[in-house]
């Protein structure tokens, strides 16, 4: 498995792992940076300072215990629903593409798109807040209308790698897709 370091659109370092199982099957894994201790400390301290302030005015200990509960529940929800650990793309020629993202708590979401419904994989530009970013996406089609694009599935949405990383993934995918009869 070859690992390379790239950067995402915010400048944070991300790693791209490329594993070539055979000439028609490759798997790409993009890992995001882990949760930073600084951010965790900062959010926890701010919540608790606020709780102490409220306690100072209301003299009610329920405020403090609820602040602790809120912090704990918030952290659990964050690592379970928000923080993505790594996203992977598995391309198997003539069978399909599998896109999966796994969260920091271990939860994994996968979805499989079969080859008959894939029109192409392209690098697309999108307006994201105040910038225009490149992203890799899968163009879908209905088997009945092979020429029309029926949908767009963006890949690597949480890690948002930059163009260098995307080009590498794109080239390997096109190699495999072009061989499909």
């Amino acid at each position: 498995m070859e690992e390379e370091t790239f950067s995402d659109i915010r400048g944070q370092p991300i790693t791209l792992g490329c594993q070539r199982h055979s000439s028609f099957c490759t798997e790409f894994t993009v890992s995001s940076p882990k949760v930073s201790i600084g951010k965790v400390l900062a959010s926890t301290c701010s919540v608790w300072l606020l709780a102490y302030l409220l306690f100072f005015f209301t003299q009610n200990t329920a405020v403090l215990s609820s602040a602790i509960l809120v912090t704990l529940v918030g952290m659990v929800l964050h690592i379970h629903f928000v923080k993505v650990d790594h996203e992977s793309l598995l391309v198997i020629g003539s069978l399909g593409i599998q896109v999966s993202s796994s969260y920091a708590s271990g939860r994994e979401i996968t979805s499989f798109i079969e080859m008959g419904r894939i029109k192409d994989i392209v690098i697309n530009e999108a307006v994201y807040m105040h910038q225009i970013i490149y992203h890799l996406c899968v163009l879908l089609r209905e088997p009945a209308e092979p020429d029309a694009v029926a949908g767009v599935v963006p890949l690597f949405q949480s890690s948002k790698p930059r163009l260098g990383c995307l080009v590498k993934v794109y080239r390997s995918c096109q190699e495999i897709l072009s061989k499909v009869p």
């Binding site: 003539s94 069978l95 999966s100 994994e108």
Partner: protein
Amino acid sequence: MVLKIFFPQCCNLADSGLLVGRWIPGHDSAVVLAVIHYPFIPAQVKQYIQQIQRQSGEELAVLGSWSLPKESQEGMESFLRDLSTIFPQERWLQISRKMGKMGFTCQILSRSQRAAGEEREKQSRSEEDGEEEEEKEKVVFVHYDQKKVMLSRLHPVHMEDTQTAAASELRQVFQTVARSQPLFLLDRYDDGPLRSTHWQTEGREGSILVELLKRASVPLCLLLSWPMSIWTRFCRLRIFRIFPLSVLSSKLSTCIQLSHRSEHMRSISAPGAASSHIEFTRKANTVVSVLVDVALGILLMTWLYRDEHVATLASALVPAADRVATELEQLLQWLMGAPAGLKMNRALDQVLGRFFLYHIHLWISYIHLLSPSVEQILWYGGLSAGLGLTFALSLLSDMVALLTFHIYCFYVYGARLYCMKVYGLSSLWRLFRGKKWNVLRQRVDSCSYDLDQLFIGMLLFTILLFLLPTTALYYLVFTLLRLVVVLFQGVLHLSVDFINSFPLFALGQRICQPYRLADQPSELQRRGPDVPDPRLQLLPQRLVGRAGQKAVCRRAGVSMETQELQSRLRTEPRATGC
């Protein structure tokens, strides 16, 4: 060209034998359904396959041979090769595996090669000679969970017979497995001439409750349809079409709920079985909602009829109505004075106020007239909860409507007065400007009026204009009151609709047996030495609705179609070479 072989997980450890399955037309793939073990007589195997073909309608064939040699069996290789001459196929697969090793080996022989007596090994991975790929055929093994694929129901099994080539490959795999049910009826306790391995080899799976329900459903349906036919005939009597009853039955929510429920019961007790899974799910949803409804209603009844709750409710009802009337009277007195500091026209105020006050007085006398029988009415009304909670709620909504009928009347009077006033005002305003409404042309035209017309028009216009605030205020107050009542009734109707139409059966099936609602695989996992043991994962899927594959989109900003539930496939993209 990549050859795909769909191999059932249950056959991973099966004894050596023949592979029975189907070549998927239009795609380069084969699905293996079962393994028939040695010893067998080839003629019997052919007969068996033809019998299964007749029963299931699928084109089954012997795909090749499977060998998992145990210690005592040696020299199987040549035997397996000779088998290919007995079962003539375009391509013959020889899949083998050694105990203790992870990988599978697959050799493919084509007919011409067998005839020529030579065989060429096709390796499934060749790294050294990547340039000679046109000679080597690549093979992808996909292991599937046969039970879950067979039990999945959302792909159309009976449709699209003529377009099999156009259907997607995975859908055809699902269809093939689902339709080959007769193949899976032979388990290892049968004393027939053939032994086979598939997901039901250890014995047929079934649930006693499900079988009992299936057997009991037919007589139950017949039993239900008889009172339903009587009830339908009763409802269609002419007497219900006459004016007052027809209006009442369309306005009262109890009657509407009654007609809904009889519609549901009619659909449940229809004699034929459901033609597709979607219809079956609909029927099941209706049955479950009726059962839940009746259960909740009986719960309500047990609460209502103990501890004299009915009596307490009845005794609280009349004083509550009295209080509402007193509050309304106070409101009218306030309106007749100077409400919120506005100055009203005294004479009109007094007229309207006294008119409404008299109404309230009439209403209170009627309530007092009814008060001795309120308890009886409540008692018998509570019995309707036995039919279902929805009936109790609709009855409550109707009773609220009847009790607040005076508010409804006030609203109607106020609205009519206000409407007439606004209509008159607009017409006289047009006169003021010298215009007229042309009914023929549906537009405003200019018109020359006589002097006396103008004079009277001006008088009336001024009168109406200065009386506008008074009427507007009454209208506003009574509309707000009516809105409160309508809101409460709306909440009741909403809960009734919710109980009527929430698909509980589909939800339960999604939670307990998600694979039945599958249409497509959801996840592939690599099998290899570095991967930990995979777990089962089932994704959310579309509930009762349209069948058919839709695109999978997640947070893409395009039209969000919900993801389909999928059963799980495991792939093995790498098979060790021979």
